[in-house]
């Protein structure tokens, strides 16, 4: 009993130390968002001598916070929805149908996850902006963002689907359920845990995306939060203090979303384990 207790304390201490290691740079960021850039440069590790709250309003106006937050939000939600729907549908086919056409393209898609984005970023612009005329618009970013995440989504959901026994499908089929109804009414609800995981991963990536957005969004009213962080970077120097404040503000919504979803992930994972 005593030994068990000491192990518990040891584990707790270990967890606390590790957590500090993971949170330290972020604490540093929050701390420095309350200093002046000069103070930050002189000693980024000191506690602020006096709190400089001005960084926040400054960052708020300079980043056009509400506009860019709105754009980032629309982009992230749209990509997540499209990836979830098309990715899980494709994964269902890959998992259930033995077909050369499907598996050929599935492996092709998996392989494409290894294509460096730099390899096709210029062609993407030539195709979508020059040929199709999508200039300064969120639409191509949403569409391409979906495409870039589809392979991963299919891969992830397929793994989960493979663990769901075929018998469930067959039972439903015998009950006269068509494959479309089968998917939306029986399979999809069972995918909840992996879908939440998938969505959190995709959302993080899209929320923080800079490179893709920067290719298609030109004017300030269309820009996203990661793009607006650059307003604090001049060519030869950075205005660190408001930048830190801007970073804190731009990750806050994602952090809140993540904190909410975290519960669902865990609940979903537990649920899934009971069923499996």
């Amino acid at each position: 009993m005593v030994e068990k207790r000491s192990t518990k304390v040891l584990l707790l201490v270990l967890a606390i130390v590790l957590t500090m290691f993971y949170l330290f740079p972020l604490v540093l960021m929050a701390l420095n968002s309350l200093k002046t850039t000069g103070q930050f440069t002189m000693n980024p590790f000191s506690l602020p001598t006096r709190l400089v709250a001005e960084n926040y309003p400054q960052a708020f106006t300079q980043m056009h916070f509400l506009t860019s937050l709105g754009n980032t939000f629309v982009l992230t939600v749209s990509v997540c929805l499209l990836v979830a729907v098309f990715g899980s549908m494709a994964a269902y086919v890959v998992s259930r149908v033995k077909n050369k056409f499907v598996s050929f393209f599935y492996y092709f898609m998996i392989a494409s996850m290894c294509a460096p984005f730099q390899a096709f970023m210029i062609p993407l612009v030539k195709l979508y902006a020059a040929r199709l005329g999508f200039n300064n618009s969120l639409l191509p970013v949403i569409y391409i963002g979906t495409g870039l995440n589809l392979a991963f989504a299919t891969f992830l959901v397929r793994g989960f689907l493979n663990a769901i026994p075929m018998e469930i499908d067959q039972a439903a089929m015998i009950d006269g359920c068509g494959s479309i109804r089968l998917f939306f009414h029986i399979i999809l609800p069972m995918l909840t845990p992996i879908m939440v995981t998938l969505l959190v991963f995709v959302a993080m990536g899209v929320w923080n995306d800079y490179l893709l957005s920067s290719l298609f969004l030109q004017t300030q009213d269309k820009r996203t939060l990661p793009m607006m962080i650059r307003v604090f970077c001049a060519q030869y120097s950075n205005d660190y203090a408001p930048m830190m404040a801007g970073l804190v503000m731009s990750i806050a919504p994602m952090l809140i979303f993540y904190l909410i979803c975290q519960k669902q992930i865990l609940a979903g994972v537990v649920q899934g384990s009971v069923k499996g």
């Binding site: 584990l11 390899a119 979906t146």
Partner: protein
């Protein structure tokens, strides 16, 4: 009957698989083929006409020692990051599925670095390495710690691996936690009753049960490491003296600093072939093992 089933299958493929396939074709395959086309040209980045140069770009790439150096470096970095991040993530996964008070809070907190983009984290870590650790080193009079890790080639590489693993392990931890949670408690209990110690329970009961998690994590780690760009750019920017310039950063620089777009595309194609080969192999072997199981 068979034809009806065949038709049903194709209907399913058409309705469920083809939309995703179409989006993927139009956003990845076609642009990528376009990119391959550019790799056979000399192009200034703007012109609407291309002058075909055949395999000249590839010839140049293969004969440039700095390309191979960069590729080798990326390989070393990938091995380091994949191992370190997965080991740490496994430990975290175990720790955070053990009977620990407030484990949900710990999971939540540890994952947070992934909520912040790589560029921002790179800058902050740069300050920690350049000013934080060196100050501690000078105060404690520890020689190797009093100079910055980022100013020495091999130590800068270690720093890059550490920071990448720091972020990546938190990401992979989520997948491992899910994997460990899925291991039935009865199985572990049964092993314990049979007298297995903690290590044996881990190695013989838990590990086999999380095999698919390991596969996913290894795959993600390899791909992400091979294509590392943001942290590379913001933490070391390839320095000191190019010793940490990974292949993605090199491709980017070849295109946008040297303005050699054909050459950059050729490098990207070579990189793609290598990484695609690794991952197809991995997928193939995983598939095989799943069948055996």
């Amino acid at each position: 009957m068979l034809t009806k089933r065949g038709w049903d299958t194709w209907k399913l493929i058409l309705l469920f698989f083809c939309p995703a396939l179409f989006i993927w074709l139009t956003t990845m395959l076609i642009p990528f083929l376009y990119g391959i086309f550019i790799s056979f040209t000399k192009w200034d980045g703007i012109s609407t006409t291309y002058s075909m140069v055949g395999l000249a770009n590839y010839h140049k790439v293969f004969n440039t020692s700095k390309f191979w150096l960069s590729l080798r470096r990326t390989g070393i970095y990938t091995v380091g990051t994949v191992v370190l991040s997965n080991v740490v993530a496994l430990i975290l996964g175990l720790l955070l599925t053990s009977n620990l008070k407030g484990r949900n809070a710990f999971r939540t907190a540890i994952y947070v670095p992934n909520v912040v983009g790589g560029v921002a984290m790179g800058y902050i870590w740069q300050y920690i390495f350049n000013y934080g650790f060196t100050k501690i080193g000078q105060q404690l009079n520890v020689g190797w710690m009093s100079t910055s890790m980022l100013s020495d080639p091999s130590r800068a590489m270690i720093a890059l691996v550490v920071v990448s693993s720091w972020q990546l392990s938190a990401y992979l931890m989520i997948i491992y936690v899910a994997g460990f949670t899925n291991v039935p408690g009865e199985l572990v209990e049964a092993a314990r009753v049979d007298g297995a110690n903690a290590w044996r329970v881990f190695w013989h009961v838990r590990m086999p049960m999380i095999r698919s998690s390991i596969t996913i994590c290894l795959f993600l780690a390899i791909v992400r490491s091979f294509m590392v760009f943001e942290i590379n750019l913001s933490l070391t920017d390839g320095g000191p003296f190019n010793s940490t310039e990974m292949i993605a950063l090199r491709i980017y620089n070849t295109a946008y600093v040297s303005l050699k777009f054909g050459n950059a595309q050729a490098q990207a194609v070579v990189l793609f072939v290598i990484v695609a080969f690794i991952s197809v192999m991995q997928a193939y072997f995983t598939q095989k093992r799943e069948v055996q199981m």
